[in-house]
């Protein structure tokens, strides 16, 4: 992902005119891709920046208003609440995902009987879409027709059927459970590749030197997995900051708008209230956060110097 520099074609001695005409053909090959990216990504990106400086209703004329949208953001407490909630969710869900995925990765790392079967089973929810998973869990979490509340009631754990989605704490933790179920297998595979890349003889040498499992984990596994850990961490953080499907489908931002995420708030402003310019300004804020995160990622994933 970070190998952005393209240095695959070895520089060869060539005459300046003869060969390069043949090389120009390459431009034709990449042109469709570049066209897609320009039309559906670069231009919209530029438009977002421009729109954020305008009052831009769905119908009628838009008017340039300078930085007014950004000034309005500063006073938009609901956006800051959404951002704060998104950050809170991101921290909790990332910890939860790692707490489940890391033991699973260690569990399936070595080829033993049935390991492939377990790995496939753990991974299955990861190929189901977020929307499908959210619809599925919105049913499991439903108070009347679902699974959890009625089951708890039938087992005598609760005195009446509790609506898990009616108050913040149970609703929030239900989402965490659903996301961990859905994503842990994915993170597990990434962590597994990191574990497998650690040379076996290093571990064996440490065993001979009398290092216990915990010492080996701290002194060998963790440092040698730095890049993998960073990658899994960034993927989880970036995915969580952009969370939308599960909060929209299961909670509709409720209870009492307490689970509106940043993307959800932008969606509301842009496509429910149709304040397109303001939505664009909010998008720019989100975009800056994500780009900053990507830059941190590039730094964390830099190739180790020497043996690190």
């Amino acid at each position: 992902m970070t190998a952005i520099t393209a240095t695959s074609v070895p520089a060869r001695a060539r005459s300046r005119t003869g060969v390069s005409r043949r090389q120009w053909v390459g431009l034709l090959y990449v042109l469709p891709a570049v066209a897609f990216v320009v039309v559906f990504f670069v231009i919209p990106l530029g438009m977002t920046a421009w729109m954020s400086l305008n009052n831009w209703p769905l119908m009628g004329e838009h008017a340039f208003i300078g930085l007014d949208n950004y000034v309005a953001i500063l006073r938009d407490t609901r956006f800051w609440n959404a951002l704060r909630f998104t950050a809170y969710y991101t921290v909790i869900v990332t910890i939860a995902i790692f707490a489940v995925a890391f033991p699973l990765a260690i569990f399936i790392e070595k080829p033993r009987p049935l390991t492939n079967l377990y790995r496939t089973a753990f991974f299955m929810p990861a190929v189901v879409g977020f929307a499908s998973a959210s619809l599925l869990w919105s049913w499991l979490l439903n108070v009347d027709s679902g699974l959890f509340s009625p089951a708890a009631f039938d087992l005598g754990l609760t005195e009446k059927k509790v609506n898990l989605l009616a108050t913040f704490q149970p609703a929030f933790w239900s989402i965490i459970a659903m996301v961990v179920w859905k994503v842990a297998g994915f993170t597990m595979i990434i962590l597994m590749t990191g574990l497998q890349s650690i040379p076996q003889d290093l571990q064996e040498a440490a065993v001979i030197d009398g290092a216990g499992p915990f010492a080996r984990f701290r002194a060998i596994t963790l440092p040698l997995m730095r890049r993998t850990l960073a990658l899994a961490l960034i993927l989880s953080v970036a995915g969580s900051i952009l969370a939308f499907d599960q909060f929209y489908i299961i909670l509709r931002g409720g209870p009492r708008n307490q689970t509106l995420t940043a993307v959800y708030w932008i969606f509301n402003q842009s496509f429910v209230s149709f304040k397109l310019g303001y939505g664009a300004a909010l998008s720019m804020v989100l975009l800056v956060i994500l780009v900053a995160l990507s830059l941190i990622q590039l730094w964390l994933l830099r190739k180790p110097e020497g043996l690190d």
Binding site: V34, P44, L104, L290, S294
Partner: protein, 285 residues
């Protein structure tokens, strides 16, 4: 004696490992199995909590049948989803095979710039440029069309799939190409007849990711498809689950979820090694 002890310990370890594995597998699979089983209950029973998950008052496909009676029907959304996913696969494979080949085998002006431009789009969340995408599609006359949605999905796939394809072409030795060129193959026959079979695993991988991405995408479809006849399955099912068509029929919702999940699960099980390869390529590089 000592041997028997260590064998006993081995057996205990193995037992502990397999029971952990079984229980964990069960936890991950249970929600999926629970849903699929309960869709075969008669509508009346499907309204009750799924205890037990399997049908107790007779096997029925009623839930799948009622699904077709909401709005424009399940079948229309399913067709839309299939169309969007298949087109996304075809178009993104075509575009990224060409681009991967171009980036791998030719030196032309701005090559590195274009490559960095395409790859760097993964840094920027598409969620933040949805409004302008909506406006661009309107300008192109693709507003509220499945083709417009396909264009967006293809663009989202490109950084990953072009990166994959360029690496796949890079791994093909140049001698093969030079030999084929001696035999008089031109660029296009070379790509289709000689190179494509050699990078086929990469093609399967990017096709699989493109399909899953398009089939499961929700936010862009929700925003860009405003007409009910253009809804993809996730948007349609969410409309149903939100009670847009009257009282929520959970049996029908679960039937819809099953229709959405099963193709992904089958494709993954059939093409697992290509999927893992894709993840590894993303993780290692």
């Amino acid at each position: 004696m000592a041997e028997a002890m260590s064998q006993g310990r081995k057996a205990t370890f193995s037992f502990a490992r397999h029971s952990t594995g079984m229980i964990a597998s069960l936890l991950f699979l249970a929600p999926i199995v629970w849903t699929v089983l309960s869709t075969f209950k008669p509508a009346q029973e499907a309204r009750q909590p799924p205890l037990p998950p399997w049908p107790t008052t007779g096997f029925s496909i009623e839930n799948y049948q009622t699904l077709n009676s909401f709005g424009d029907g399940l079948w229309v959304s399913a067709q839309n989803s299939i169309y969007v996913s298949v087109m996304t696969v075809l178009l993104s494979v075509l575009v990224s095979v060409l681009a991967g080949y171009g980036f791998s085998r030719f030196r032309f002006p701005f090559r590195d710039l274009f490559f960095v431009l395409i790859l760097s789009t993964i840094m920027i969340p598409f969620q933040s440029i949805l409004t302008p995408i909506f406006l661009v599609l309107t300008k192109l006359g693709l507003h509220n069309t499945l083709t417009g949605l396909v264009c967006v999905y293809v663009t989202l796939q490109l950084p990953f799939s072009i990166f994959m394809m360029r690496n796949a072409f890079d791994a093909v030795p140049r001698e093969i190409e030079e030999a084929a060129r001696m035999d008089g193959a031109n660029n296009v026959t070379m790509l289709v007849k000689v190179m494509l079979p050699l990078v086929w695993p990469g093609v399967v991988t990017i096709a699989l990711f493109a399909f899953l991405g398009a089939w499961n995408e929700f936010l862009a479809a929700l925003v860009l498809m405003t007409d009910q006849s253009k809804f993809t399955l996730p948007v349609m099912m969410t409309a149903l689950q939100s009670g847009r068509f009257g009282a929520i029929d959970w049996g029908a919702v679960q039937a819809g979820v099953t229709v959405m999940m099963v193709p992904c699960l089958i494709l993954f099980l059939a093409l697992q090694r290509f999927y893992i390869r894709g993840l590894m390529a993303g993780a290692v590089k």
